[in-house]
Amino acid sequence: MIKFDQVTKKFGKIIALNNVSFEIDSGEFVFITGPSGAGKTTITRLILKEFEPTSGKIKINKQDLAKIPSKKVPELRRKIGVVFQDFKLLFDRTVFENVILPLEVIGADKTMIEEKANEILKLVGLSDRADLFPSQLAGGELQRACLARAVIAEPKILLADEPTGNLDPATSWQIIKLMKKINKLGTTVVMATHNVDIVNSLRERVIILGKGKIVKDQKEGKYETL
């Protein structure tokens, strides 16, 4: 599903990723851990084609990202749901309007949008918050709204960049449980995180990064500090 082949990304003289190779299969749940500046966010941004690798190849669904013209980038991004640490919700739209955005940008049918939105808001437990604005929600609710937006268009891949970074432990667990649920429904989940408890309890695959390199890649891994 996702393949990094000897990928290096430099920002000027700083090497964010250094010759990184890994492959993530369809339906996997993968944690990417490592200290700040290890390159976790760089990986998610490379997958979204926010920028190009300095060298190496990235393939999503067997498609070489380098060969996707910039005009086709929106199509790539529609296949990938993203959850951000800082939620990135549109403050001037209601929860409902935020959640349906991915369907709206592809011009989906109105009744279909409504149906999907109700279904997904129920899944994340925000049905009664649909008409509120982001400023009226608590942190955990914001992240659930963000998650609902990420999966409403049924993407093949769900990227989560520190989704629990701003949340308390109990709320963090709610989010993780939801992500597990979504993973069970067939979506490949890649989650960059610092959260030791979560990584250690779930015993999923863990890719540990350090200074831009893969230090360890374990099935049923544990969090390790470098």
Partner: protein, 288 residues
Amino acid sequence: MKHFRTAWQHIRRSPYQALAAISVMILTFFVAAIFIFIASGSEAILHWFETRPQVTGFFKDEVTMTQVDSFKERLNQTGQITEIKYISKEEALAIYQEQNKDDPLLLEMVTANILPASLEVATNDLSALGEVAQIMREAPEIDEVIFHEDIVSSLSKWTSAIRKIGLGLIIALSIFSLTIILVIIGMKIALRKEAIEILRLIGASSWYIRLPFLLEGMFYGVIGALIAWLISVILLLYSTPFLISFLAGIPLFPVPPVFLALVLLVLVTGGLVIGLLGSLIALRRFLR
């Protein structure tokens, strides 16, 4: 439809910017409309004079009817005359009374005696007028000669001056409005930078992001043009009675509705173009 709603939301949430954009558009298109009216009006007046190559000679008071007839004969011999019309003192008074029928004071003071008899001569074309006018000026029977060519030439000078000034002013104001639209749309793009980034990340196409800004620019242009047209037409209708008496005899009024519709079309198209261009430049400049 969705994009119209988004654009309308952008406009509603910053009413003062919208007001600034629309006012400058109104100013631009109002000036444009007024100059279109003046230019077309003076063009029509000029055309009216040009299609009536005419010279009028006023006889001295002591001239007798036989002298008039022999003078007419002399003019006819030039072979350039299409029409020749004698207007007696009484006829002149009737014309004068008709023109000033609303002003009894002016009527009271004038009798047929103080108005001169005259000869209105029309020729095949403008160039022949010169020759006829020259004959009249040299004739001892004639007191004064009014020559259309003078009017035509000074009028055409005025028309071309009006056209140049109008065009210059319209171009300057258009650049001014374009800049205002560009700045306002640019500000809105800057304000929504984060939202635009989010939309990009969830796979919105570049047109999905741009369209509301383009629609907003065009909205300002079209609304400005519409209001400007409305104001100028009301002003024109309001001043019609005055203009009719000022341009006595020249059939300009009522202004045909087709002409007003055409002006509306020109203004709205101009509004669309300025609005669209301003937003496009802003998008290029501020949205990579």
